[in-house]
Symmetry: C2
Subunit: 218 residues, 2 copies
């Protein structure tokens, strides 16, 4: 059983965690990074398949290559916002320097073949491998936040560029690049909310009762 | 900044959380359920799209229908293990009564259309919508664990059965059924480890350095 202080700590970390794009170059003790990765490894996984791997990137040369891949994709994607000046500007101002500045970037991968051909539970919903990997990522982000560290989840890149840079086999999915480091400014609101890109939805609009579309009467 | 007690609480909850299949029928205060769902809603999401919905199921009639769908799929899947007696037996002994006994089951859905046609970040990696939803599920499981509650993630069902039972539109993905309740016995090891289905991998086998397959020298 957890005390009320411990319980409050969980909720506080869940609400404090933010996606961060600006990192200080200060180094992180390797033991801290390993505690965060151990938290990831304790995520649940479908059929206990543990489909994840974590590639720790700290070399400046590799970080530059990742930033090149992300920047190329960012410029390609910005073309889809060119008819909306505000969004195009907001989009292009999103920093990818985090990949260079943060002392560590973790490439999180998912191996859909792990655990054999008939992983328990994955036979019905195959994307549960990716979902398990996302649970590991959420554990990492919460553990990092509790450690006083910031994380930034980068998802603009072509997977094959990342495979080429990190020698990842073709059947392995590089599902996230997660930069980890200290930050000077830890915002209280999501960056995309501050930039007026999206608002947090009213929680009552996402909760239904007994069936889709039915709102609670309480 | 979090105190060392608060930090330890996060790691303790992450390591204590287990997937549970046996629930007591005791009810849960609705405020507790809402705190858990609020924790889910504070998950990160790609382009802040918040693609999730949570359908709270407490009616015995609906719970029975969900259990019917899961049991049907469990029996169908067991045929794939029929050549391996141990696995077939372990598989069929996995309880789905949790769906009946737990006071609440939450159907977690993902709406891939939310946020429009060009959700920031999802243009490169479309499965980031499902990954965001999985981060919300992980928050739910951790919050429930901190509240002294158990959760069981059921992923054997045909999505269309769940859509039919809960009136979910065809473009919405019912990605998880999550039962929440009290349990008499909270195991220290994963059920599938105790059943000799899979072991926890040595963490050193899932960590690489600078590129795929390269192990840290430290």
């Amino acid at each position: 059983m957890f005390s009320s202080q411990q319980k409050e700590a969980i909720y506080q970390v869940i609400k404090t965690r933010r996606d961060i794009r600006s990192f200080l170059r200060d180094s992180i003790p390797i033991e801290t990074l390993y505690r965060i990765l151990e938290a990831a490894h304790y995520a649940p996984s479908v059929g206990f398949m543990q489909p994840w791997n974590f590639i720790i990137i700290s070399s400046d040369e590799v970080k530059k290559q990742l930033a090149w891949a992300a920047d190329k994709e960012r410029r390609a994607l910005s073309i889809h916002y060119e008819d909306d000046n505000n969004r195009a500007e907001t989009f292009l101002s999103l920093k990818i320097e985090g990949l260079i500045d943060a002392p560590y970037t973790i490439c999180v991968t998912c191996d859909p073949t792990r655990g054999g051909s008939h992983v328990l539970g994955r036979n019905s919903i195959p994307e549960t491998d990716i979902m398990s990997t996302a649970c590991a990522i959420q554990n990492m982000m919460l553990a990092a936040c509790a450690e006083g560290l910031a994380t930034g989840w980068v998802s603009f890149y072509k997977k094959n560029d990342i495979r080429d840079i990190l020698a990842i086999p073709p059947h392995i999915e590089p599902v996230a690049l997660l930069s980890i480091g200290y930050t000077e400014h830890y915002p209280t609101k999501p960056i995309l909310e501050t930039a007026n890109w999206e608002k947090r939805r009213n929680i009552n609009t996402v909760i239904f009762y007994e069936k889709w579309g039915k709102h609670p009467t309480t």
